[in-house]
């Protein structure tokens, strides 16, 4: 009897435990409201009036307040540089442009003290120094961190060196230093500084002008905001000499895993078609290298890294731009809140935010989020708002085939079982997330890659390769190409069996119709014969068709398997796989949508009442399609009412095979009930759904969607970036010529960092004079511990106060960690 009771009790406990497994979102409700004043937004988090303020704060005082009183996330997506006018040595009016000389530009690296700028203008917290076109928090930098560190030291502030080099070059140009002022043909050498006053670039511009004045130039400061400055530096002719230096700024909103083409973009004609870029003339060797990097002209990852290391060096020698700072933005949140934040895009840019958002001390609850500006443009999944603060709730209610890692940019599978990538031999295609490989925290790889002989990836005759908008049928590869055609790559994607258990927010189950309509729309909007033709699609469609060869569905039950043939291959097989896996997923540029709501917009656009894109809406003088409010929504609801009566199936000649009248009827009824309950038609499929939208008051309320059955903890590993803490220890002093071991401890939150998650640990050895005398790899010992083995030969030339700098690169976070250890070496 006692045994039975115990067993029953255990069973009840087990059931209770099972019942407590949270699915979907951790929180019950997320309330977004608009708060344009940043200081007030932060204050509201401090007083509990909001839980998160989603704007990235860069004001040093506010950051200090956040760090002292709140929890926070950090992003590194924007950066500042100094752009030089390359024309010269003189402009047509005879004025000298010293920055036409590469050595003068190179010397500008020594003239400016990046550390001073960070301390003085960023309060020591809102920025980090930057020397290269690659971002210090992105994977490429991490892989090259040792090379970068050495170059950064070589190009750190050295006023005397800068002055000496510039003096020498100025004299070569025929200028004279008279009474401490540079003169050219009797006139002062004027440097026109075009300075952006909106942010810290004002101080940076002023600082650079001050430094130039210190070495004898006459700096003229011209403060112009973005709109006024663009026609001068960006689209204007640099030969007019309206500016010599410009304080540039750039933003990256996603972690870019491949920045190898950034040198070509920033330093060569290949970057942009505007006159400034077309005025760039490079050293042939540098140009070839950068151009090859842009074309992915290398065989292996190692070769690419070697080329990039060289590109870094060339970039500093060329210095048509000198990179100065990387802004660090802080996102204020309550200490009791956990949420994923993208290293580039911050909280609002993290695709995983709604899957990781939670209170640390409880399950459920309402999170209130302040947003600097929202509901500024219509929402439609095809070509609606692209406003970053609106995309945050839109992504929060959407489910995707893959989701980007906020710390490395790698795509992780959400609705993909596996992807097999086939690539022609000779094409550089690297693989990181190898199928079955353990990445820790429950993350496993999902991609395989096979290299095949050139010409062996033949597109099947019956693959869908184009679209006939009149007949509303796919054009097969045979019809499009006329005969057998090969592609450079093929990706076979498998959606899991559970894919058809996915439920839209109105209760409709996902079907093949949702998948195929999306693929049809990739073509139909770009076809002049289509009633929804949009000329804004011409350029992107042309690009798409240049590489797309065909798609074939191999299996539709129980799992969906399809293959995509294309000539486009990303540098990493993981990215190629992710791109192709999305071809049938009902996600569009600006959100997800089921076929039965998309069709309403299609009907409205075909009737000339609305248009999905702003470009077409303006051209036709109609409203931009909006699924959440206004007259536009009324029009969509009108079509819904009609369709309820007719069970309308869009693109019937094709979709009629996949959608039955019964399904159509059920779908329209579901959408109608949803609209009547919630007052909008934003029907998505993610862990949260849109409960309330108040466009006038700028409020959006999202609620947990019970039909989303993934475990809530599925993405918890991304709630916090695993940025390693590094400590180096060893003897405080030793004799030169003796072998020494230095211990490197690597932890995250005081726990040892898993070896499997570390990419490398490198060290740079400095002698007493600060010169680099050696570099090497530390050796792994166990989780959280590496050892640097300095041989007797390595320590032999050392004397005095020496040090090692250690660079730790992780596989799970793009941001490398640094540490240094000083020691005395005696003879």
């Amino acid at each position: 009897m006692k045994k039975i009771l115990v067993a029953a009790l255990l069973a009840v406990m087990a059931l209770g435990g099972a019942a407590q497994v949270r699915t979907g979102a951790w929180v019950d409700e997320v309330v977004f409201f608009e708060e344009p004043t940043h200081a007030k937004g932060v204050e509201m988090v401090k007083t509990g009036a909001a839980d998160v303020y989603t704007f990235g704060i860069s004001a040093p005082d506010l950051i200090k307040d956040i760090v002292a009183n709140l929890g926070y996330e950090v992003s590194y997506g924007s950066y500042n540089e100094i752009t030089f006018n390359p024309v010269g040595p003189t402009y047509p009016d005879g004025r000298l442009n010293p920055f036409s000389v590469a050595k003068v530009r190179e010397a500008m690296n020594w003239l400016i003290d990046r550390d001073f700028i960070i301390k003085e203008y960023y309060g020591g917290v809102a920025g980090i120094a930057r020397w290269f076109p690659i971002t210090p928090s992105f994977p490429d930098y991490a892989k090259l961190a040792d090379v970068a560190r050495a170059l950064e030291l070589q190009y750190s502030y050295n006023f005397d060196k800068a002055k000496a080099v510039i003096t020498e070059e100025m004299k070569k140009l025929g200028a004279e230093l008279v009474g401490g002022k540079w003169k050219y043909k009797g006139a002062d050498v004027i440097v026109k500084c075009l300075i952006r006053p909106e942010d810290e670039r004002k101080q940076i511009g002023d600082y650079v002008a001050d430094q130039l004045e210190k070495i004898g130039f006459t700096a003229v400061r011209d403060y112009k905001r973005a709109a006024e400055a663009s026609p001068i530096w960006l689209t204007g002719d640099p030969a007019l000499g309206l500016w010599d230096i410009y304080t540039g700024g750039w933003v990256t909103t996603v972690v870019d895993r491949d920045q190898a083409d950034n040198w070509a973009f920033f330093y060569t004609k290949l970057g942009r078609p505007e006159p400034l870029w077309q005025a760039y003339v490079n050293e042939p060797e540098a140009y070839q290298l950068w151009e090859r990097l842009m074309r992915n002209d290398f065989r292996t990852a190692e070769e690419r890294l070697e080329m990039m290391a060289k590109a870094m060096e060339y970039g500093l020698k060329d210095s048509y731009r000198i990179f100065v700072t990387n802004r660090v933005s802080y996102f204020a949140r309550s200490k009791n809140i956990a949420v994923a934040s993208d290293l580039a895009g911050g909280v609002y840019g993290a695709w995983l935010w709604s899957r990781t958002l939670k209170f640390r001390d409880k399950v459920g609850g309402t999170v209130t989020m302040g947003n600097t500006s929202m509901l500024t443009e219509p929402w439609n999944a095809i070509a609606g708002t692209n406003w970053i603060f609106d995309m945050m709730p839109i992504r929060g209610v959407s489910d995707y085939a893959t989701l980007p890692d906020p710390f490395t940019g790698l795509p992780w599978p959400q609705n993909v079982e596996k992807a097999e990538v086939f690539v022609e031999e000779g094409i550089p295609s690297l693989l990181t997330l190898e199928l079955g490989k353990d990445f820790g925290g429950g993350l496993r790889g999902w991609v395989t890659q096979t290299f095949v002989p050139v010409g062996s990836i033949v597109v099947p005759d019956d693959a869908w390769a184009d679209w006939d908008a009149k007949a509303q049928k796919f054009i097969t590869a045979k019809e499009r190409f006329g005969g057998p055609v090969s592609a450079r790559s093929k990706v076979v994607t498998t959606y899991p069996k559970s894919v058809f258990d996915r439920v839209w927010h109105d209760g409709s189950k996902m079907t093949l119709g949702d998948m195929i309509i999306g693929f049809i729309l990739s073509f139909d909007r770009a076809k002049p014969d289509s009633p929804i033709y949009d000329s804004a699609m011409d350029a992107p469609f042309k690009t798409f068709m240049a590489h797309f060869k065909g798609l074939k569905i191999l299996k539709t039950s129980p799992e969906v398997v399809f293959e995509v043939y294309s000539d486009s291959v990303f540098l990493e097989a993981d990215l190629t796989a992710s791109s192709r896996a999305g071809y049938l997923w009902p996600a569009y540029s600006q959100g997800v949508a089921p076929w039965h709501t998309l069709v309403l917009g299609i009907q409205a656009e075909a009737a000339g009442k609305l248009a999905f894109s702003s470009a077409k809406a303006r051209a036709k003088g109609v409203d931009w399609t909006n699924y959440i409010a206004g007259k536009s929504l009324e029009a969509l609801v009108g079509y819904l009412a009609d369709n309820l009566k007719t069970n309308y199936i869009p693109y019937a000649p094709t979709l009629g095979t996949y959608i039955t009248a019964a399904e159509a009827g059920t779908r329209y009824k579901n959408a109608d009930a949803f609209y009547k309950k919630y007052g909008h038609l934003w029907i998505a499929n993610g862990p949260l759904f849109v409960d309330t939208i108040r466009p006038v008051e700028k409020v959006v309320v999202l609620r947990r969607f019970p039909g989303f059955t993934d475990p809530a903890a599925k993405w918890d590993v991304f709630a916090e970036p695993k940025i390693a803490a590094v400590k180096v220890s060893g003897p405080a002093s030793f004799r030169a010529g003796t072998a020494q071991n230095l211990k490197v401890e690597i932890t995250f939150k005081d726990k040892p960092y898993e070896l499997a998650q570390l990419d490398f640990v490198k060290y740079i050895l400095f002698d007493g004079a600060g010169n680099i005398v050696g570099t090497g790899n530390a050796e792994p010992v166990k989780d959280g511990e590496y050892v640097i083995k300095l041989t007797a030969d390595m320590t032999r030339p050392l004397v005095g106060a020496c040090k090692v700098e250690v660079v730790v690169a992780s596989k799970v976070v793009g941001m490398p960690s640094f540490a240094s250890f000083s020691f005395a070496v005696t003879r």
Binding site: D261, A539, A615, A629, V696, V699
Partner: protein
């Protein structure tokens, strides 16, 4: 009959003058909003910058050979130029803006959309007006009548402690209302936590009109208070001085000497002659509400016409700027016109036409 004729002629001339004035004002606005055509250059640069960045973000496009990249870039730039009408000369577009504005065909915006997502300028303005009216008009009405009646009281109690307080505090109106707003937010929202920081309603408001109304009222307290504090002392001081001057007119002194009761003096000899300026001030205050208040609305996160204009200026959306200005211009013109008529009715000293010239 002759009077009617004269009034009719006067009305027509005034009407034509108003339309002419509005047209000039609107065209000046068009020139300013588009920087005399230089805005085209700016927009062109912005388009190129945006297209370049968009292409840079596309892995499959950014690595194309330069000639192919350039083709796509040019196509996209041209498409965007057409979208914003930059394929047509500025002068043509500026005259179109003027024609549309004068005929009150406000057309469609270039970038901004209404709260509900419409691109019609009319709708953009219509959706923002109620918010501004609720906030600015309420504040103005409370301010106006409080100042007026307090001033009347003070004019009767010249030199009283309250009068001295008002005079002493009148320089405080030098600070704008949003300045007081920040302090009020700090005290009542941040420190005491009894009133909201801003916005129009509580974000997680339960459904229902009553809940909405209560929340709206709660959110109005601080901004109305800030608006009131920002101007009350100076407004009261102004009206009180005005009434004091009116109270010392000879005919008022005569009435006092005749023993007319103070209430009757106030009503007949002070208020009636001062009515035209009071009505003028009141009317212009009403019209002034149209423009909203950019910083004030921003401080209180209130989506009215002020913030709309700020967005329009930032986005260089000429149709919205022109649309808002033309409505204001027409309202002002019509108000001035009506005031002219009202003056004639209220004040026997005001004459029209030849009679007026004779009097002069």
């Amino acid at each position: 009959m002759e009077n009617l004729k004269r009034i009719g002629k006067y009305t027509v001339i005034r009407g034509v003058l108003i339309v002419l004035t509005v047209s000039i004002g609107v065209y000046l606005t068009v020139i300013i909003a588009t920087m005399g055509g230089y805005m085209d250059k700016i927009q062109d640069a912005q388009i190129k910058e945006a297209v370049g960045l968009a292409l840079q973000g596309n892995e499959e496009i950014r690595r194309l050979p330069q000639s192919e990249y350039k083709k796509i870039y040019d196509m996209m730039v041209e498409e965007r130029r057409k979208e914003f009408g930059l394929d047509k000369p500025w002068i043509e577009r500026s005259l179109k803006y003027l024609r549309n504005a004068v005929t009150l065909n406000l057309g469609r915006s270039e970038r901004i959309v209404s709260f509900s997502g419409s691109g019609e300028v009319r709708r953009i303005l219509i959706e923002a007006i109620p918010n501004t009216l609720v906030l600015i008009l309420t504040s103005n009405l409370i301010l106006f009548f409080t100042a007026l009646f307090t001033a009347l009281y003070l004019s009767r109690h010249y030199g009283s402690p309250l009068d001295r307080v008002v005079v002493a505090f009148s320089p405080t109106s030098a600070a704008p209302a949003w300045f007081y707003g920040i302090f009020l937010i700090l005290i009542f929202a941040s420190l005491l936590r009894v009133l909201p920081y801003g916005g129009m309603i509580d974000p997680n408001l339960p459904p229902g009109a009553w809940a909405y109304f209560k929340s709206l009222l709660k959110h109005l307290i601080l901004p109305v208070m800030a608006w009131f504090l920002g101007s009350i002392f100076l407004s009261t001081f102004y009206w009180r001085t005005f009434f004091l001057i009116s109270s010392s007119e000879d005919y008022v002194e005569m009435a006092k000497a005749k023993g007319v009761p103070p209430r009757a003096i106030e009503r007949r000899y002070v208020l009636r002659p001062t009515l035209p300026p009071v009505i003028t001030s009141f009317s212009l205050m009403l019209i002034g509400s149209w423009t909203g208040a950019i910083i004030f609305e921003t401080v209180f996160s209130w989506n009215g016409l002020g913030r709309l204009m700020y967005r329009a200026i930032q986005a260089t959306d000429a149709p919205v700027i022109v649309g808002s200005t033309v409505i204001y211009a027409y309202l002002l013109g019509i108000t001035v016109f009506l005031l002219d008529l009202l003056y004639a009715a209220l004040d026997p000293r005001v004459k029209t036409g030849a009679g007026a010239r004779r009097m002069a």
